[in-house]
Amino acid sequence: MPDPVVVLIEDEPQIRRFLRATLTGQGYRLFEATTGADGLVEVGSRQPDVVIVDLGLPDVDGIDVIRRLREWTAVPIIVLSARGQERDKVTALDAGADDYVSKPFGASELLARIRVALRHTAGASHEADDAAFTIGELRMDLLHRQVFVGDREVRLTPIEYKLLATLVRHAGKVVTHQQLLREVWGPTHTDQAHYVRVYMAHLRHKLEAEPARPQYLLTEPGVGYRLTTE
């Protein structure tokens, strides 16, 4: 498999410098753009495996870049944004971004997000391999619709199962409340975000050793949930 290609759309030279060192050091082929317009051209010509977009670009809103990209490509998009801009993150994710990292972030955090994104692209082509999901003590058998914690089988209600299955499908990625509502409850319930929270609480009580200190079902305040993969 050739080295994965990453297009980075970021105007801050310090961040580009740091990411250049990190990503090329990890064997990625990196192409950089400093504006949204250049970035769109770059993505068109390089056919990258992952796109990284800063939300604060000088020429256009990062959200617009995401929307423009989503018009023609399903390439994974990871957003760079600051803490305290939860609304922007949600907007970016609902506009089609796959994940985000908050500045300041560590290299390991970003690399983990990229790995998850690449895995999802690869997984999309041979679905059958994903019949089981395992993380720590938690094991989900999607074929037989069974969930285990250690050796113990856990009985889930249909909605709880659907919720967990949705998170597993997006394992490692953040999933917004809206996405979960749409995928689990259907498009008519998208203004009932507390449904998700209440059912997440049920899931945690059934799957986590300490529901108030979850190991698997993590909360990203103001944004959504993430099923950890590492």
Binding site: T157, E160, H194, V198, A201, P214, P221
Partner: protein, 478 residues
């Protein structure tokens, strides 16, 4: 009576009548009485009787003297009467002025002052009153009060003139005497404050200078009161500005120190690695790099706190409330601090039936992170931390308790002040964490406080009121 009295005594009787009429009925009747008494005296008592003819011409002198004396007496009497009347009015107005001053002294706000002054002037002078004060752009605007009269174009022009020239204008003054109202400037020590426009119900109310002078004293009292209020307001503003200034300089001092310390550590570590990286052994290099990371993280927390504080102070904080289970928010805070809590025993007690609370989860998570961060900073490593949530009908209470040295006696409230830093870790933060917690909790309508625990350590507690209609219950699935 004639011939029992001498003529001289009869004349006295007539003059007495003139005096009585003058006192009772004023100038006109008393003049008529004077003339009539001379005529009657001539007719009845001067020979030839019962005609106006006079036989002895010396009586003409008697008539002249009698008429002059009658007129003088009537003039004097009328003037005394008038003076008594003026004195009475003056006394009344002085009393009214005193009453107004007293009320003005009690009135606090400008609107109260305007209403009080207008009411008193209306009562005393039988007039309609408008008080005009300059607005933010310096344009005179009539303030709302009872008995206000609609100001016409002419009134506005004259009041403007009175304001600019600091002189009365309109009815009864040198400037535009024919107007229907008089406009008196409210003069303070530093210039005009506004204008009082008075439209008397009777047009002749200000034909003599006396009432106008009295009206001026009323207006001056009002001006003094207004100026006093204004000075008090300015003093208050100045105090606030000074306080803001003090805070800003404290902030600058604190920030520059707090920012510089981690920056110094980062610069030091980075240059050491650059200059002598090859000669350092692996372990030292690792340590330096770790210190760069840790200090950068600390710097980030500081900046985050400063931003948060600025948002709270500027009133730009917007709550995005939704219904949340607290357990989830607590969990999020604990995951964010997972690395720094690795060596701690953290116990959480959250009842499974705790009601959902309408909160901004990002901000409440910040409160919990700040409280936990404090517990980590100010208590011995590896000492346990406890988080307990309880609910009553009105509120959910969250408690974050540690097993550290506790707070110094009497400082339980002070810790929430900006730039307060605990010992011995003083200098490890900007002293903003708890102030931010307080700001966020209060924005949610809750309360936050600290109490030392009898078994040692300190507990920080905050409440989140259970207000609003809880969301429709979540449909169960089998």
């Amino acid at each position: 009576m004639f011939p029992f009295f001498e003529l001289a005594n009869l004349i006295m009787t007539y003059l007495l009548a003139v005096v009585v009429i003058a006192t009772r009925h004023g100038r006109g009747p008393s003049v008529v009485a004077s003339v009539m008494s001379v005529a009657a005296f001539d007719f009845f008592f001067v020979p030839p009787y019962l005609t106006f003819a006079v036989a002895d011409t010396q009586y003409l002198l008697t008539f002249a003297v009698m008429l002059v004396v009658g007129l003088v007496i009537s003039g004097l009497t009328v003037r005394i009467r008038l003076q008594a009347e003026v004195a009475r009015q003056r006394e009344e107005r002085t009393a009214a002025l005193y009453a107004m001053s007293r009320e003005l002294a009690e009135a606090g706000a400008v609107d109260d002052l305007v209403a009080t002054a207008a009411r008193h002037i209306t009562e005393v002078f039988g007039a309609e009153v408008a008080v005009l004060l300059p607005d933010a752009e310096g344009k005179l605007q009539a303030r709302r009060n009872k008995a206000r009269f609609p100001l016409e174009e002419n009134d506005l022009m004259l009041s403007r003139w009175a304001f600019e020239h600091r002189q009365p204008a309109g009815l009864g003054t040198a400037m535009s005497d024919a107007a229907h109202a008089v406009h008196l400037p409210l003069l303070g020590h530093r210039g005009p404050i506004g204008v009082v426009s008075v439209r008397p119900r009777r047009r002749d109310a200000f034909t003599t200078p006396e009432p106008l002078r009295q009206l001026e004293t009323f207006v001056n009292q009002t001006a003094l009161a207004l100026e006093r209020t204004r000075l008090a307001d300015e003093a208050q503003d100045a105090r606030v500005r000074a306080e803001t200034e003090r805070l800003r300089s404290a902030l600058l001092t604190s920030v520059s120190h707090d920012l510089r310390t981690p920056l110094a550590a980062i610069t030091g570590a980075a240059t050491t690695i650059l200059d002598s990286g090859a000669r350092l052994d692996q372990r030292v290099q690792q340590e330096l790099v770790e210190s760069v990371r840790d200090e950068a993280e600390r710097l980030n927390r500081l900046v985050q706190n400063l931003l948060e504080m600025t948002r709270l102070e500027s009133g730009a904080l917007q709550l995005h409330r939704d219904w949340h289970p607290l357990e989830e928010v607590i969990g999020a805070a604990l995951s964010r601090l997972a690395k720094r809590l690795a060596n701690r025993r953290v116990t959480t007690q959250v009842p499974p039936d705790l009601p959902l609370v309408a909160i901004d989860d990002v901000l409440i998570e910040q409160v919990l992170v700040n409280l936990l961060d404090n517990a980590i900073k100010y208590t011995p490593p590896e000492s346990p931390i406890r988080i307990i949530a309880t609910a009553t009908d009105q509120a959910v209470t969250v408690e974050v308790a540690d097993h550290g040295p506790g707070l110094p006696r009497g400082e339980e409230d002070k810790v929430f002040e900006k730039f307060y830093r605990g010992q011995p870790a003083g200098g490890r933060g900007a002293g903003l964490g708890l102030a931010i917690c307080q700001g966020i909790v209060q924005a949610h309508g809750g309360r936050i406080w600290a109490q030392n625990l009898p078994e040692g350590g300190v507990a920080f507690l905050f409440t989140l009121p259970l207000t609003g209609t809880p969301p429709a219950s979540v449909p169960a699935d089998a």
